[in-house]
């Protein structure tokens, strides 16, 4: 659904202001669409829910998985990266991704411009939804801001327990600029490359999860393993907190997925029920997969499945029927389980909290699977106009483009961070924990 987006938004919101004021006024007098408070209300709620996913949600999910000596470092990196992303978003991010001036020609595939410092936004300007409705543009800006913030934070799951705080800040700023904003534009903006291609991505499977997952992998490889990994045991210091984080992520994800409809309508309802059942299915299937491979169904397995399901249903939320969603959740869960517990130990990299293993892999399964479950034969809302094979091929292209773009951009961003900050803490700090070494505190006294 999101693919129908943003040209409209731009028309209703920003570009009106790009014309002469007089003309704008005239137009406004005639036609100025007024947001229905119900849609605004839902979108503000959704925005708040996505913030809750970051802090405390993701901070707890990731933090519980680290060792207690790195708990504060993990939570602070997430919080501060998100905060930085918010400031950058209002300064140049919104403009680059959804600015009113669509650049001409080739470059317009990748970025827009024209609303630096939100210059074109007022309390009365609006962004179009997918029907004839509009929502307040400030609400749209806020909603999209939280997406940028959480994506930046997700990447850090692969680099915790060893990356300098200063490096996190530099990396985030560069990475958002050269990776996130262009990909968001490509997928969601009217003139964007993948948008024009016809890729389906309801709530950001590509923009958020594949993107974050791949970037996490690349960053983890460049950064190197944690001292002692994998020989030394590094059990999660509090799975209780990880479960709390999981719950909050699930709760918040409804803002993410059902919010992406931009209206409080029946399709938002569809996105909601899909987000429930795909997740429930994925949580249980991960435990089942553990069982089948001879272990006990674990709490962390349940949590991992929940996240895998949420990730996979993200592009499919409004693009699937409930049973497509259940199957998609189950498949994504099993695939992620295999990657994380069978494949990863064989490969050499240290993706500390499995940002790639779950967000990257789950995102790819979801993106491609969306091409399938979208079809009416599987109960999806598609009208069958694009054949399944063709749609899947479009989806694969979108995945590949994001994959390559994210990988290259991350290499650049991480080397810039290395140049400026040195990237990695000293072995002593790593041994002693980043809480004391980087922040001078202990999480628990």
């Amino acid at each position: 659904m999101i693919r129908k987006l943003v040209t409209g938004a731009v028309v209703a919101g920003g570009s009106m202001l790009a014309t002469t004021a007089a003309f704008a006024q005239e137009v406004a007098e005639k036609a100025a669409p007024v947001p229905n408070p119900g849609n605004n209300a839902w979108m503000m709620t959704s925005t708040v829910l996505v913030l809750m996913m970051i802090l405390p949600g993701l901070a707890l999910f990731y933090g519980g998985l680290t060792r207690s000596k790195n708990m504060l470092s993990t939570m602070t990196q997430i919080g501060a990266a998100a905060a930085l992303a918010m400031l950058i978003w209002v300064m140049w991010g919104y403009s680059m991704a959804f600015g009113p001036t669509t650049s001409e020609g080739f470059i317009g595939n990748f970025v827009s411009s024209g609303s630096l410092f939100l210059s074109s936004v007022t309390p009365d300007s609006t962004a179009a939804t997918f029907s004839d409705e509009v929502i307040s543009e400030y609400v749209f800006v806020s909603f999209q801001m939280t997406f940028a913030a959480i994506t930046a934070a997700l990447v850090l799951g692969a680099t915790v327990e060893r990356m300098k705080f200063s490096a996190v800040m530099v990396f985030t700023a560069v990475w958002l600029t050269i990776v996130y904003f262009p990909i968001a534009h490509m997928v969601w903006a009217g003139g964007g490359l993948l948008f024009k291609l016809g890729a389906l991505d309801f709530a950001g499977g590509t923009v958020v999860h594949i993107n974050a997952g791949v970037s996490a992998l690349v960053a983890a490889i460049i950064l190197g393993k944690r001292k002692g990994y994998p020989s030394e045991p590094m059990p999660p210091h509090s799975l209780t907190l990880t479960m709390v984080g999981t719950g909050l992520l699930w709760v918040g994800w409804f803002g993410f997925n059902a919010g992406s409809e931009l209206e409080a309508d029946g399709t938002a309802g569809l996105a909601m029920i899909n987000t429930f059942v795909a997740t429930a299915s994925a949580g249980l299937f991960w435990m089942l997969a553990e069982k089948v491979s001879g272990h006990k169904g674990s709490a962390l397995g349940f949590c991992s499945g929940i996240i895998a399901g949420l990730v996979a249903v993200t592009p499919a939320a409004g693009n699937s029927g409930p049973f497509g969603a259940i199957v998609l959740g189950a498949v994504a869960s099993i695939v992620c389980f295999l990657v994380v517990s069978k494949l990863k130990p064989k490969l050499g990299f240290d993706d500390s909290l499995d940002a790639f293993g779950i967000h990257g892999v789950g995102g790819i399964v979801g993106a491609i699977g969306t091409g399938i479950v979208y079809q009416p034969v599987f109960g999806g809302p598609g009208d069958g106009s694009t054949a399944m094979g063709a749609q899947v091929w479009i989806q694969i292209q979108a995945v590949l483009v994001s994959l390559v773009w994210a990988a290259i951009g991350t290499v650049i961003a991480i080397y810039i961070a290395k140049l400026i900050t040195g990237l990695r803490v000293s072995p002593e700090v790593e041994q002693e924990g980043l809480d004391i070494g980087e922040h001078g505190e202990r999480a628990y006294n």
Partner: protein, 112 residues
């Protein structure tokens, strides 16, 4: 006097304490410890990484006693704490040169 150090399974603590107070042991000091011995721990799995730890939660008792009742204390602990399963723990007896009650400054047997 003797200083007795016993490492036992945590769930035996209450039973042992009751048995000891039955034979007149007025006090003791208890610490949560991790034991390492013949008993093997469960395997824990976190996303495919297996940790098989031999460090098991135990409880350590420290009891200062008179020479007279020390053997009885050892015997009582041994009998009550035993489940006849591996990992039941140990009792160590050391010589205690002196004991002082902080509240009163009393020393020797009466301080226990």
């Amino acid at each position: 006097m003797k200083f007795i150090i016993a490492v036992i399974k945590p769930f035996k603590l209450d039973e042992v304490r009751e048995a000891l107070s039955g034979i007149g042991v007025a006090g003791m000091t208890v610490t949560e410890v991790k034991g390492f011995g013949r008993q093997k721990g469960q395997t824990e799995i976190y996303r495919g990484a297996e940790y098989s730890t031999n460090m098991l939660p135990k409880v350590k008792l420290e009891i200062a006693t008179t020479d007279a009742i020390a053997p009885q204390v050892v015997e009582t602990i041994q009998q009550v704490a035993s489940t006849e399963a591996i990992g039941d723990g140990k009792i160590f007896v050391l010589d205690l040169a002196s004991a002082t009650r902080i509240r009163t400054g009393e020393t020797g047997d009466t301080a226990l």
